[in-house]
Symmetry: C2
Subunit: 461 residues, 2 copies
């Protein structure tokens, strides 16, 4: 189905739907909605609307569907695979004004939110109730963006990804229909699980306008440790041994020396520049955590760590988490004139040491600035390459490494994307990863959005 450009009649129609204050075709606004934090080329939308509620969005989609106008949802633009870039132009719906926390039912461990809520703001609001929403992708991600990409982060090793923490969704479909799916019960066997179908669908099946999220109690006690190793490989082996021991850390992050150097510089952390594991346990009692750290220390020493530094205070831990969350941005800032490629593979934990070794080898051979860090406890490995923008030779090398690493991960029963989503950059790996089930994903797409107006050009090639 060929999509249309927005003509003057359409512009007028859209403007009338929401009024002039929440509609823009201004150049700077279009520019702001033309790219995310990825290397992918910007693409301008033709108009931006800030919707306020489901019925407005329903009206907009009915019109867009009838006139074959692309519609792409926009959270905070923090995604890393071009997920919200309006590659076919059309309309961008910026959800930043649908940012109300509608209800917090603390005794049910649930909150109802609009998609424009930034998850950090939700957690600020929840803190004095002793609760939090666990998935933490870093950046200023919105709940809507997190739902679209099934985002996760440092605490996913313990608390799951966004998909595991969503109970109920209200969604506007391409035809303007509003549906509610899921329930507020913590479990259900009632019909097909549409909630988890929409989570991770990157705005290609429908637009989420409200979500009921699951909350978690803030644990009584935390205990964090920093461990340095002689090599990234040995740190990787320690990760594998910790996970297979079943000790269930609440964070288990690996940072290669080049990452430590950067966060030292920007956050004055004074960490030893070495392959580093940053780990955290949480639980109800100090003694239990001390036991866990003792067992972890034993494992790390057997693998041959250099230094095991337990008992990080809350302040130091918070600074470290903050630095870790900002790492991707820090890397970008430190390479002006470069574009970056972020690998996001995830593999079964037994395959993890081999993936690390491969990344190290590739870096050695290429000479291109490469940053290795990972949500190691999930087998989720990030490798960020910084290539000079426009340097075709360098980018050919990066593309080749990207291809090799992802193919290797797939051959080990892993996935091309652990948490960033498919967007633009991972589309070409979908056939290799999913085989003919990819065709069934396309059929589901066509079922929900027969004209292909919702976030066209994503997930599928």
């Amino acid at each position: 189905m060929r999509l249309n450009r927005i003509n003057n009649n359409d512009l007028e129609a859209f403007r009338l739907m929401v009024g002039p204050d929440r509609f823009s075709i201004g150049e700077s606004v279009l520019n702001l909605h033309s790219k995310d934090q990825s290397r992918h080329s910007p693409s301008l939308p033709e108009a931006v609307i800030w919707p306020m509620n489901a019925s407005e969005i329903a009206e907009i989609l009915r019109y867009a569907n009838e006139h074959l106008i692309p519609v792409t949802a926009w959270g905070s633009g923090s995604s890393l695979e071009g997920n919200p870039i309006p590659v076919e132009g059309g309309l961008v719906l910026d959800f930043s004004q649908m940012n109300r926390i509608l209800d917090i039912r603390e005794e049910d461990f649930q909150a109802d939110v609009e998609p424009g809520v930034i998850y950090k703001d939700l957690n600020k609001k929840l803190r004095h109730k002793g609760l939090f929403f666990a998935p933490d992708p870093g950046a200023d991600a919105t709940l809507g963006g997190m739902i679209a990409n099934n985002s996760s982060g440092t605490r996913t090793v313990r608390y799951g990804s966004t998909r595991d923490n969503i109970l109920r969704l209200s969604v506007v479909l391409a035809n303007g229909e509003i549906i509610h799916t899921g329930s507020r019960s913590s479990k259900s066997s009632s019909g097909y699980d549409l909630v988890r179908l929409f989570v991770g669908s990157e705005g290609t099946l429908g637009l989420v306008v409200e979500a009921t999220v699951r909350l978690v109690g803030i644990p009584g006690e935390f205990s964090a440790a920093i461990v340095t190793f002689p090599t990234v490989e040995s740190a990787g082996r320690a990760v594998y041994e910790i996970i297979r021991s079943g000790m269930n850390p609440s964070a288990l992050e690996l940072l290669a020396p080049e990452c430590i150097e950067l966060i030292n510089r920007e956050h004055e952390l004074g960490l030893k520049v070495a392959p580093t594991l940053f780990m955290e346990y949480d639980g109800p009692s100090v003694q239990q955590l001390a036991e866990l750290l003792d067992m972890t220390k034993e494992i790390c020493e057997e693998v041959g760590c250099d230094e095991f530094r337990p008992g990080l205070g809350m302040t130091e831990r918070d600074r470290l988490f903050k630095a870790r969350h900002e790492l991707a941005e820090i890397i970008m800032r430190n390479h002006p004139g470069c574009s970056h490629m972020a690998i996001d593979i995830a593999v079964p934990i037994t395959a993890y040491p081999e993936m690390i070794a491969m990344a190290i080898e590739d870096r050695k051979n290429s000479g291109i600035p490469t940053y290795i860090f990972s949500h190691a406890g999930d087998g989720n490995l990030h490798i960020v390459f910084e290539g000079k923008t426009g340097d075709e030779k360098e980018w050919a090398v990066i593309e080749e490494m990207n291809e090799r690493i992802i193919s290797k991960a797939l051959s080990m029963d892993g996935t091309a994307t652990g948490e960033h989503g498919v967007g633009i950059g991972k589309r070409r790996f979908m056939a290799a990863e999913h085989g003919n089930s990819l065709e069934w994903m396309k059929k589901i797409k066509t079922l929900f959005d027969p004209n292909g107006i919702l976030n066209p050009g994503k997930i599928f090639e």
Copy 2:
């Protein structure tokens, strides 16, 4: 689409596909595959096949799809809502010979299994490796049946339902196509989540022929307690207070006195006949568990419990779990000449005390044998009514209570079925629960199975 009866040509074709040993039209075989453990009327299949592998099933489905012959998958027949009853006749595929554990990758906490594996057998095999598959519906459920119904059980409050513990599926679709979906990575944001779409679809979208399941380490320490209360309502309030405290028990079961009486009689447990909570904590250290039980005791005493008996030994705990798992069967055995209706609502935990109160009130008014027990920690309440088979007056009363209780649960944002699935018995509540998202479930059904040959007459009216 009108489905066909199996004619002699079809019979011959099916027989040739698998050979005479794994094909039957014998009366006793057909009878054995005509009903599950529910009250729903038996319905005979016209033939039964015991398939051995995916390609056989693909061939069978291609033929059945072309000739519009109903095909219903069969695990162990332990379901409670008529889920596998072949209401339109046709072919039953009995998976009992596809019961191989294909691979246990203990260091990845994963196993690959065929659908006919009984979960208890898997757990027996895993025990000496210190691992287990957490969902525990009781009975002799097969993995395939558990996947079909998104089954759960006593430990779901801690470890999730079947849906949360499946990573990857191989599925034969109605047209005979074999697809593989998901990966062996513990997390992924790669395309639409077809795995969780198939889990809970009750064999209506495709037939699972292989699954990669997530395993959990057997915790180092357990501590269990039995607590009695003056009323079921006060026990229900204690459940609510324990859950909202965030203490995360690994089991939190409520049993009304009539259930205690039955399991005492059958298992000689000598328990006090009173409203009872049976709870368990697990974790790495004895001291941590002692602390949790102390906090739980405080809560129960504040609510006004009669007796708090902590420190149950492993033997007593195992006997209690066994009795709890067999409870549904014990109830049935004790009411010869009766049929039973099993309510399986689940609600947000704040709504739980009110649901309990309503059930008690209904029992008082009706005079019909009623058993109240529940996976209380999940807000999942079972109420089993035993009505004389064929007694229309009694059954009208039961139907009315069923209707009232489910409607109440839905009005409190709960679900009509927490773990038994929709099958036949909960179909008529689907419209009320899902609104117009039910139409989208139907469209997905039609997409995957346009002729409607897979388990016809289930989920949808």
